[in-house]
């Protein structure tokens, strides 16, 4: 029989490691707190002493300046907070679209580096080396220059069938002018997605029961499209489109992506895709080669091996580093100010100059990027946990 010591009571003396740890931690928190308080207090005192007015009260006042483009309706008489909101949404628009496109392109490039075709393999390699070694700001300026200097002026815009226009005014395309009809189509598509999800579950159950493989791509796609089509019929099959046409100064009708937006988007996507390609390549290489051989000896094709055997395992290695690439892309979008895209930094710059609230405006910028980055990281961490090996 081993001798057991009696259960310990909490020892509130300096000899207890737990107690000492607690004290040190409290001290650390107190020191950080005091330091922060000191910084804030000192800044406020200094600003007061120099007659600089401060506070976030200005956010409720009319901004008084226009913003070139935005996702929501904004008028110069709207308050500053709404101007900031327009800027934040512009930042998110570049970040979200950029992340999706960079992921697709980066994954294709990463897989392309394992191609049996030597030309494709070398092209992917060259792409990665070129794009990740040129500073991103230069790339943004280069793409913007391409749009504003090389493309023809509005009146001589390059067009495809009078529907799509490419000029110094950006890329213009037709949009459906269906009014309420658009909502019906969207509702139909959402219904389609629900049905497609149900179909997916049924296919998986069938597969487990009978081993029969059914397409999980074409049929669900058809279901979603059919849903949207039904919605369109229900809305009375509207057929009006708003077609862009060159006006005096801008494209009239349709919708346009400005050269500023395209410059930022293309620049960031191509730059980040190079890094994502490397992450994907590393992930694929981390899967033991025996897996490929095993899969080959079972008679599974190379394409299916990649999709069903390698990528699901590589994903676990890929997700954490790819998260930092997403965060980088979001943060790099602040370079947009160099080529005139009205992101949150650009709007804050204008607000800062009109109100003189430097500390407040910089704080807002920091808060926006911190929130976006932390949310992205939280989402990716959740996805990472989902994709991780479930150890039993």
């Amino acid at each position: 029989m081993t001798h057991r010591p009696p259960p310990k009571r909490r020892d509130w003396s300096w000899r207890s490691q737990a107690f000492r740890g607690l004290v040190y931690q409290l001290l650390a928190v107190a020191v950080i707190g005091v330091a922060l308080w000191f910084l804030a207090h000192n800044t406020l005192e200094n600003m007061r002493a120099r007659g600089i007015q401060s506070g976030f009260g200005f956010l409720a006042q009319p901004a008084g300046f226009d913003i070139g483009e935005g996702l929501i309706h904004y008028d110069a008489l709207d308050p500053y907070w709404k101007a900031f909101l327009v800027g934040i949404l512009n930042t998110l628009r570049v970040a979200v679209v950029g992340i999706v496109l960079a992921t697709v392109l980066g994954t294709l490039l990463g897989i392309g580096r394992f191609s049996r075709n030597a030309i494709l393999r070398s092209l992917c390699y060259a792409y990665v080396e070129v794009f990740r070694n040129i500073p991103v700001l230069l790339q943004l300026l280069m793409w913007y220059l391409l749009f504003t200097d090389v493309l023809p002026p509005l009146a001589e815009a390059v067009n495809v069938g009078g529907l799509f226009y490419l000029s110094k005014g950006g890329f213009s395309f037709p949009t459906p002018a269906w009014g309420v009809g658009l909502a019906f189509v969207a509702a139909g598509a959402v219904l389609g997605v629900a049905v497609a999800l149900a179909y997916r579950r049924w296919v998986l159950r069938q597969f487990e029961a009978t081993g029969r493989v059914r397409s999980l791509f074409w049929v669900p796609l058809a279901i979603v499209l059919a849903g949207a089509f039904v919605g369109w019929i229900a809305a009375g099959a509207p057929r009006e489109w708003s077609i862009p046409a060159p006006g005096t100064f801008t494209m009239e009708g349709g919708a346009s992506a400005t050269p500023e937006f395209l410059g930022v988007l293309i620049g960031l996507v191509l730059y980040t895709a190079a890094f994502i390609a490397e992450v994907v390549r590393a992930g694929i290489q981390s899967v033991a080669h025996g897996q490929v051989e095993a899969s080959g000896s079972l008679g599974i094709s190379r394409g299916l091996t990649m999709r069903l055997v390698i990528l699901p395992q590589a994903l676990r290695v890929i997700i954490p580093p790819i998260t930092s690439q997403y965060l980088n892309l979001t943060k790099n979008s602040s370079l947009a100010v160099a080529i005139g895209y009205p992101d949150v930094v650009s709007v804050a710059n204008t607000a800062l100059n009109n109100t003189g609230r430097a500390v407040e405006c910089i704080a807002i910028i920091m808060l926006v990027y911190l929130t976006t980055s932390l949310s992205t990281a939280a989402f990716m961490n959740w996805y990472n946990r989902r994709a991780a090996i479930r150890e039993r």
Partner: protein, 343 residues
């Protein structure tokens, strides 16, 4: 014993932090004298106002104002350190004490004067915002710019003026805002924007110095705002505020009474005009009241000449900018330049 000591140490540190007074800026004049140098915030590059040549020598109207103040205060117009600033950086640089004076074609407005912890010392150039467009667009008036994209530099009053003008005339102008002036003008010259907007003096500078062919661009007749441009100093040193203010007034009054860079020495010794005698310090010692010696204004004039000379040398008819005196002429010649008397 250990148990009680640590918190005491931390407590002491915290108390020391609490007791520390927030850092106050020393008196600006004392700081400038101790340093032997005036630190002057200028534009990163605007022909006629502040621009550095290939050797790093600065020239321009805003630059000469700083030289005159350095000459009056330190006795040497060369003792100036130039800090080029973008529009967005300028006020923070002045507030934080990085520069002593901001002489960077800055518009004097209520918000800036009242809430940014600075004082404008006067107006050195009366300006107004305008538009520049390519000649081939065949636009004769800013009111024809309906729905146009307009390139603009951020961090200036121009964005707001343009919005006001756009609203009043229902023009729906779309701004494309750049942080750097070079990027903004670059986008305009490339044809991305139908027009570029800034103060009329800046437009002249851009048209005549940056355009490949100045005759391809025309400045539209409308001036859409009042832009009194002038230097500003940080609050907290009334002495420096007064010196900077009266050097500028002195430059303007010297022109009114015919004192120039060339004749100031002669006038100082020979003139019997009581006003000239006061400016040159021959009768009243006006410098003493400002905490300077009696030759303060003579030195400033020897260094850069009077306001009229500064204007003609940097932006006047014989320069590439070819600006007329217009509103910047002396008050008795139909302009707005009116300095309170030095007496």
């Amino acid at each position: 014993m250990l148990k009680s000591k640590k918190p005491i140490v931390v407590g002491l540190v915290a108390a020391a932090l609490l007791a520390a007074q927030p850092a106050m800026a020393g008196k600006t004049v004392d700081a400038i004298k101790a340093r032997g140098q005036l630190v002057c915030g200028v534009h990163t590059g605007l022909a006629g106002f502040s621009q550095a040549d290939t050797q790093g020598n600065w020239s321009g109207l805003d630059v000469d104002v700083c030289r005159a103040i350095a000459a009056a205060l330190l006795g040497d117009a060369t003792k100036v350190k130039w800090v080029p600033l973008t529009a967005a950086q300028r006020f923070t640089a002045l507030q934080s004490g990085e520069i002593d004076i901001l002489s960077r074609n800055t518009t004097w407005t209520l918000t800036r004067d009242a809430s940014l912890g600075l004082h404008f010392i006067g107006t050195t150039y009366y300006d107004g915002q305008g538009f520049i467009v390519p000649v081939k667009a065949k636009i004769k008036s800013a009111k024809q710019l309906k729905g146009a994209t307009v390139c603009v530099q951020s961090g200036t009053t121009t964005e707001k003026n343009m919005t006001d003008f756009s609203r009043t005339n229902k023009l729906d102008l779309k701004p494309v805002v750049f942080e750097k002036i070079e990027a903004a003008t670059g986008a305009y010259f490339s044809g991305r924007c139908a027009a570029f907007t800034t103060d009329a003096s800046g437009l002249a500078s851009i048209r005549n110095k940056e355009a490949k062919n100045p005759t391809d661009h025309v400045i539209l007749p409308e001036l859409i705002s009042k832009e009194p441009l002038g230097p500003a100093v940080r609050r907290g040193d009334d002495e420096f505020f007064a010196i900077a203010k009266w050097v500028v007034f002195g430059l303007i009054e010297a022109e009114e009474y015919g004192l120039t860079q060339a004749n100031v020495e002669k006038m100082m010794n020979e003139s019997q005009d009581p006003v000239v005698m006061r400016i040159t310090g021959k009768s009243e010692d006006t410098g003493k009241l400002l905490g300077l010696d009696k030759d303060w204004m003579v030195r400033a004039l020897k260094a850069v000449g009077n306001y009229g000379e500064i204007f003609e040398r940097n932006v006047g008819a014989k320069t590439p900018l070819a600006l007329q005196r217009g509103t910047n002429a002396q008050w008795n010649k139909g302009g707005l330049m009116y300095a309170p008397p030095i007496r």
